[in-house]
């Protein structure tokens, strides 16, 4: 299944890749083939900085259920900040 499903968002922050910390500029979220996860399709998130080259990337490949749990955890953490 090559879905071609990709959503892109600009972000600010830092990520730690194979060469250490780097400035994040973009996150690409796709639902398609994973490289490593034992899933036919995965929710793939790539935190990248295009200007620093393709290896400036923090990648995760999650099952759909895990991805939903992650979204909930992020939103929960942010809502706690506001209390």
């Amino acid at each position: 299944m090559c879905t071609g499903i990709v959503e892109t968002v600009e972000v600010s922050g830092s990520g730690k890749g194979p060469h250490g910390w780097f400035k994040l500029e973009q996150v690409n979220v796709s639902y398609d083939h994973p490289t490593d996860a034992s899933l036919e399709h995965a929710l793939n998130i790539d935190f990248v900085n295009q200007s620093e080259g393709p290896s400036s990337r923090v990648a995760v490949e999650l099952s759909p259920e895990s991805a939903r749990n992650l979204v909930k955890a992020i939103l929960d953490a942010l809502s706690l900040k506001q209390q």
Binding site: M1, C2, T3, G4, V6, T8, Q26, N28, S30, D32, H33, T35, D36, S38, L39, E40, N44, D46, V48, Q50, G53, P54, S55, R57, A59
Partner: protein
Amino acid sequence: MVSVGAMHPYTTDMYEGMLAETIMLPGNNGEIINAYYARPLGPGPFPGVVLIHHMPGWDELYREFTRKFAHHGYLAISPNIYFRFGHGSPDDMSAKVRGSGGVPDVSVVGDIDASARYLKSFPLSNGKVGVFGTCSGGRQAFLVASRTKTFDAAVNCWGGNVVQPKEKLTPAQPVAPIDYAKDLSCPLLGLFGEEDKNPTPESVSRLEEELKKYGKNYEFHMYPGAGHGFFYYPGVGYRPEAAVDGWKKMFMFFEKYLGTPGRGR
């Protein structure tokens, strides 16, 4: 020269040799790209196959596939269709291409066509060249076989988005490949899994209707119990029986339309 199609196993007294290396060649618009080229040693002549790598990248699996074709007596070349996006590990490059909107169809067609011409110009070529691709490469194999008249046979393995609804068209992929079906210029073999979600059995049937309408020479096989990527032995989608049968059908198909492959002895 010895026939080594799927029905002709080799014998243990044969000499066997292969050259496999990365080369540079002119791709789309004459722009230089790199490619992995494997060929049997020996005088030939050999038929050729261009392999279009899948969406996960120009990776180790495609080098294995390329050498497999050379082992079976073909000049086999796998161009790096992501070359213009820069260099890094195959998965980093795949992620970069994915995040950049995908590789443009026009550059893929140009790179694959140029790779076939490179093979045909090789002194050991028998003048026949096929194209093979899996996943996005299957879609692109169908596309290039329809947009050019360079190929003598094409194999589309589970290519998704050949039937591409308008809402899924993008600047990089502006036309659904099925819209070019009337221009398909060579025999087509299609290998698909019944449990695949893209292409679904319904979209394979839709493509088949279109090929029938234009009187095209095609042969489709739909494997029960298989989904997407059933050749990929490192993955969860690997289905040994379907994979073994698929390779066998593919070698028979290529032998029929590209001529007898050689081992180079």
